[in-house]
Amino acid sequence: MKSTISNTLQKLSRRNEPYVFLVLMLLCVLIEIRSGQFFSSNNLVDIASAFAVPGLFAIGAFMVIISGGIDVSFPALASLSVYATTKFLLDVNYQGGVWLAILIALALGAILGAFNGLFIGYFRLPALIVTLGSSSVFKGIMQGALNSKQLTVIPIGMKNFGTSSLFIAKNPVSGLTSRMPVAILAFLIVLFLVYFLMRYTMFGRGLYGIGGSEISAHRAGFGVRNTKFIMYVMVGMIASLAGVMRVCMMQQAHPTNMLGMEMNIIAGVVLGGTAITGGRGTLLGCMLGTLLIVIVENSLILIGVPTSWKSVFTGLLIIIGTGVSAYQVSRMNRVRSVETVAKEVV
C-alpha cells in the first residue's frame, strides 16, 4: 500500500499538471490576500466568462501541437469567419436566432481550416510557415475584400445570445453582479467532445502517434495525411466558434482585436505540459495552463501590480512556467534513456 502511494506520487511528480495546479493555487491565494475578492462568487464568474474564448482557442491549439504542428493563424481565421458571418447576416437583415450564425461560421471555419490542412497535410509544408502565410491571407481578405471596419451593431439573435446568462452571481458584500454567459456552454461541449475524441478514438490516438513520430505512425497504419487534414478542419471550426462567442459577448464585431492572442494561447498550452515538439500532453494540463494565463491577465489590477509592470509580470510567468515544463520533459527523457539502457544491458 505504501509503495503504491509513493509510486503514484512519483508518477505525479514527473507530470506537469500538479506543478501548474500548485502555481495556480498559489496565485489564487496571493490574489485573495491582496484583494480579498478572488474567491467571491462574482469574481469566479468573471474569470469563467473571460476564460470561455481563450479556452476554446486553447483546445484547438492543443490538438495542433499534439500532432507535432503549430498554428498561429487561428485568431485571423476566427476573425475572418465571424466577421464575414456577421456582415452577411446584417446585409440580409437576419432576425432569427444565433444558431444560423454559428452554422455559417462553422462552415467558413471548416473551409479556412481545410486551406491550412491542404498545405500542411497533403503538401507536407512546415506548419509554422503555412499558418504564418494563411494568417496574412485571412487578414488580407478581411481588410481588402470585406473592407473591414468595426461593426457595432450585430444581428439581434447574436446580441441576445451574448447578453443572456445561465445565472447571475451577486457579491453580497459589494453588491456587484456578474453574468455567467451562455457561451460557456459552447466551451464545455467542445471540451467534452475533444476530450472524448483524444482519449477514446483512433483519430485522437493517431494525433498523438503522428506527433510522437510521423513515420512510426504511418508504419503503424495511421493515415497521416487524412488525419492531419481533418484535424486542421476541426481546429478551424473550433476557432470560428470561439470567434462567434467573442463577438456575441462583446456585442460588436471588431476585425482586428482578436489578433495577437495566439502567443498567449500557445504559451498557455505549453505551460500546461504539452510538449511543443508534439506527441505528449493532456487536455487537463492545457486547460490549467490557459486558466493560469487568463487569471494572470485578468487579475493584475486585483493584485495591485502597477500598469507599467503588467507585461513584465505576464512575461516572467510564461518564462518560468514553460521553463518548468521544459525541465520536466528533459528529465523524463533522461529517465527513459536510463531505463532503456538498463533493459538493453539485461
Binding site: S35, D46, L176, R246, L302, T307
Partner: protein, 334 residues
C-alpha cells in the same frame, strides 16, 4: 479612321475645358477645394456636409473632392491635378504627412494657399488647424465626467497605452483640471492610469477588476474611443448604472445604444463638419490678405478663439470639441 480618332480626342479634350470655363464664370470669387483622406469614410462624408453648407451660405466656389479610397499616392495625384487646375486654395486632411510635403510645396510655389487639418507636423503649409489643444480636450473630458459624477468621488484614467502621446496628454490635462476645479473629486492613488490597448474587451475586463478591487471608485475617464464604451459594458453588467460613471472619446452611432439606455451620459468628440468649415474660413482670410496673428476668430462654432500652438507659427488650435448625448447622437451620420 485615324482622322475620326484624332477628332474624338480633340473633342474630348476641349469639351471639359469649355464646361470648366462655364463653371468658373458661374460662381464668383475664390475657388477653394477641400481634399479629405477619402470620399467614403462617414467621417469625411460629414465633413462634406459642412463644406456644402459653407458654400451655400457664402456663395463661394467651395467644394470637397476626395479619392475613392484612402491612399497617400492617390491623394497626392489629386492635389497635383488641382494645382494644374489653378484653384485658389487647398484645404487638405493628409493621409500621410511625409509623402505630401513635396506636393504641397509645389502648390505653394504655384501661389495656392495651403491649409491642413490634423497635419501639425507639416512644413509646406500656410496654416494647420487642430480642433483643439490636447490640454483643452483633456480638461473638457474631465468636465463631462465630473458632471456625471456630481462633482465628487474617486476616479481614475484609462489610456490605450502608457506610451501613447496624445492620450496621456489628455489624461494629464484631465487630472490637472480636476485638481483645479473639482476639489471633492480624488484620483485613485493606487491605480492612477490603466491601459486598454485600444481594445474594448481589455477596457471591459480592466474596468470590472477596478470596480471589484476599489469599491469607492466612481468614475473612469476614458481617452481612446474604446475606453468609455468598454467601461460602460462593465458598469452595466456589474449593476452599477447610476452609481459609477464614465466619459471619454466615442463615435456617435457606435454608442447610440449605450447613450440611449443611460449607461453613459455623454461622450466627447470633435465635429468634422465644423473642422471643414473652419479650414475654408481660414483660407478665405488668408486670400483676403488678413494678417493671422494673436487670437483668430473664424466665425465657426468652437473655432472663434483660435490660438497658435506654443512654439509654432503655423499650427492653430481651437476649442472645437462637442458633447454627444442621447439627444444629438443621430445628428452626425457616423
Amino acid at each position: 479612321m485615324k482622322k475620326i480618332l484624332v477628332l474624338m480626342i480633340i473633342v474630348l479634350m476641349v469639351v471639359p475645358m469649355v464646361f470648366a470655363a462655364g463653371q468658373a464664370e458661374k460662381k464668383t470669387g475664390y475657388e477653394i477645394v477641400v481634399v479629405p483622406k477619402d470620399a467614403s469614410n462617414p467621417w469625411f462624408v460629414r465633413m462634406k456636409v459642412g463644406v456644402d453648407e459653407y458654400a451655400k451660405e457664402t456663395g463661394l466656389n467651395v467644394y470637397q473632392k476626395g479619392t475613392a479610397q484612402i491612399d497617400a499616392t492617390l491623394q497626392a495625384q489629386l492635389i497635383q491635378d488641382l494645382i494644374a487646375q489653378g484653384v485658389d486654395a487647398l484645404c487638405v486632411v493628409p493621409v500621410d504627412l511625409e509623402s505630401l510635403e513635396p506636393v504641397l510645396s509645389q502648390a505653394r510655389k504655384a501661389g495656392i494657399v495651403v491649409i491642413t487639418h490634423e497635419g501639425a507636423g507639416l512644413e509646406n503649409v500656410d496654416y494647420d488647424i487642430e480642433a483643439f489643444s490636447n490640454a483643452g480636450y483633456g480638461a473638457f473630458i474631465m468636465d463631462n465626467l465630473a458632471e456625471a459624477m456630481n462633482f465628487e468621488g474617486v476616479y481614475t484614467t484609462m489610456v490605450a497605452s502608457l506610451t501613447n502621446g496624445s492620450h496621456n496628454e489628455w489624461a494629464d490635462a484631465g487630472v490637472a483640471r480636476q485638481k483645479e476645479a473639482y476639489p471633492k473629486m480624488q484620483l485613485l492613488a493606487a491605480e492612477k492610469r490603466v491601459e486598454s490597448f485600444d481594445n474594448g474587451d481589455v477596457a471591459y475586463n480592466g474596468a470590472k477588476e477596478l470596480f471589484k478591487k476599489y469599491p469607492k471608485l466612481k468614475g473612469v475617464m476614458g481617452t481612446s474611443s474604446y475606453d468609455a464604451p468598454g467601461v460602460a459594458r462593465a458598469i452595466e453588467e456589474l449593476g452599477l448604472i447610476g452609481k459609477a460613471f464614465t466619459s471619454g472619446t466615442g463615435m456617435p452611432l457606435d454608442n447610440a445604444a449605450l447613450l440611449e439606455s443611460g449607461v453613459v451620459q455623454s461622450l466627447t468628440l470633435w465635429d468634422p463638419a465644423l473642422a471643414g468649415k473652419a479650414m475654408i474660413a481660414l483660407a478665405v482670410k488668408v486670400l483676403d490678405g488678413e494678417k493671422i496673428e494673436g487670437v483668430v476668430d473664424l466665425g465657426v462654432d468652437g473655432y472663434t478663439n483660435m490660438k497658435f500652438k506654443k512654439g509654432s507659427k503655423t499650427v492653430l488650435e481651437g476649442e472645437g470639441w462637442i458633447v454627444i448625448n442621447a439627444k444629438n447622437v443621430y445628428d452626425f451620420g457616423f
